[in-house]
Amino acid sequence: MSAMESHAAPYVEAQQAQARELPGAGVAALDRSRSEALEILGERGLPSQRDEDWKYTSIKPITRSRFSPAVSGVDCSEDFIAGSAIENLDAWQLVFADGFHLPHRSKTNGLPEGVQVAGLAEALTRDPGPIVDRLGSAVGKMPHGFAAMNSAFVGDGALVEVAPGVQLEKPIELLFVSGCSGEGFLSLPRNLVILGEGSQCSIIERHISFGAERSLSNSLTEIILDKNATLNYCCAQDQAERTFHVGGLFARLAHSAKLKATTVTVGKAWVRNDARVDLDAEGAHANLDGAYLAFGRCHVDNHTHISHNAPECTSRECYKGVLGDRGHAVFHGRIVVQPNAQKTDSEQSNQNLLLSADAQIDTKPQLEIYADDVKCAHGATVGQMDEAALFYLVSRGVDRETARRMLTQAFAAEILETVTPLALQSYLASHVSGRLSPAVPPGAAA
């Protein structure tokens, strides 16, 4: 048995031990997809740096010790949830502790007819039929062992389904709190978002840590947008230092569907994100954006893949990162234009601001074009603080530290300013600003 497989083995065993108790167990299609995923996990194991897609991200910090899958029944206090709320946000909310839906902490009253916002486990137990077919349909080919692990355990998470033509006037927040079970637990939330023809909604997926417990959050969100559906989606990652987060975002867009997905990583966690968007029919449009901070010894990896599978689709992608201390970030943006995807219009950029000599960015924009009538542009930049701008601010009396913070925030603002609702934008901006403020040295007077 190779080292790779041995890392996956405990998770394979854990799944086998609880397979029969997973929600919807016994539903043939579900049993089958779980065991297929399990097989992939067993065969491929967890990724290593020998895999091209994991070249710059070592999972050693994760495999150093074993994580046990969290079990349902875990809770998270009302006080904690209230204390970490987004100020002035008026939203429907589902709360999850280590991946398990907490109905008593969630707020879904007043949802319009035709809208389902529920725990996935509950839905799989109650009426698995309509869900099972679509689970996994946006993921397609399993990208790596973590996605396979999530799919093998698929159980709880969020189910959001909006009926054709329905427009939600308030956003839906999915709040994931990891580390609630204590030290060394694994959470495996699986979210399924289905928007019917012409429907519209905003979803916030927020990940935070309960405390300083070491935890692994392996989260996967599938988004399926029918014709003319519009989804405004933001994934806010604000976890603590000893949290490890592997996030998946897989979206399929039908004719003229529109997706704006922004992933903002402002915490101190080790983070790997995989985003894949399939533009499956004419007129589909995706805005795939991200902002990330990597300070201290943080590691943040964003792998994105936009596939133009049909003619006349457009995509815009912009990821911006600010790195300091010994922070390490990775960006790999792949745009694939399939042979029939004529009149594709695609732009991608990755910009990085390095605030220290020890910070490191590995960036790789990648275009693969198999059609001949397309408009595609991509580029990556890595730069330092603009000294001319810094002097300009300082010459107006602004102290150097504040000036640096203003410029750094301004750099990230290009992404943050596109985030709605405004309450979320303010929340993210203040968290970014908090991370950029110099830490008060130990023993300094308050």
């Binding site: 001319a388 300009y392 010459s395 107006r396 150097r400």
Partner: protein, 253 residues
Amino acid sequence: MLKISDLKVTVDGKAILNGLSLDVGPGEVHAIMGPNGSGKSTLANVIAGRDGYEVTSGSVSFMGNDLLSMAPEDRAREGVFLAFQYPVEIPGVANIALLKEGLNAARRHRGEPELDALDFLKLVREKLKLVEMKEEFLSRSVNEGFSGGEKKRNEIFQMAVLEPSLAVLDETDSGLDIDALKTVAGGVNALRSEDRSIILVTHYQRLLDYIVPDKVHVLAQGKIVRSGDKRLALDLEERGYGWIDTAADAATA
């Protein structure tokens, strides 16, 4: 107000200022004129404290304090203001945010309470009128996408808000059409007062038709080779800068 004595400055080892002396009294407006490469902008930047200029000898005293030992932000808080020849575009930082931070930093420095949002807004609205700028300028990113004229007006607007004791205007007239020049000059004139000194660094005499200086100095090869009143500027306009270099050479010889 400002006393510069025998100032020598090098940039990348190259001598730019070669023993410049200048005395600017309170409320005075001095024009520094000179051909390209004479050291005008270097002088402006050394006063503001920009990096990359090495002072090899001489002194600069501002209101009795050693200006050269002060950090640029402290110079600003003490009342030194530089209107940039090329104002920097700073996407993502709103004009109003910069001014609020700068003004309140100066107020804290002086031991005064910070202005609250309302009083601050009242102040900047009033100052906007001086340079005929619309209120939307406040929320726009600093100089981003501004026309040449708007950038220069923005410099004067910032000066109006920060109310410096010494303002150095580095080629504020360059790139302005006649209407913009009049607006900018009008703003500067409105800011003239007996406790505010102004140094106009310019290549052309034209600006001095609108901002009439108390004294005119001609800078060549890094030192002041001629000083006089506003008539000196008219002389230069007629005769060009050619004769200055000869004069400078003679002075060095």
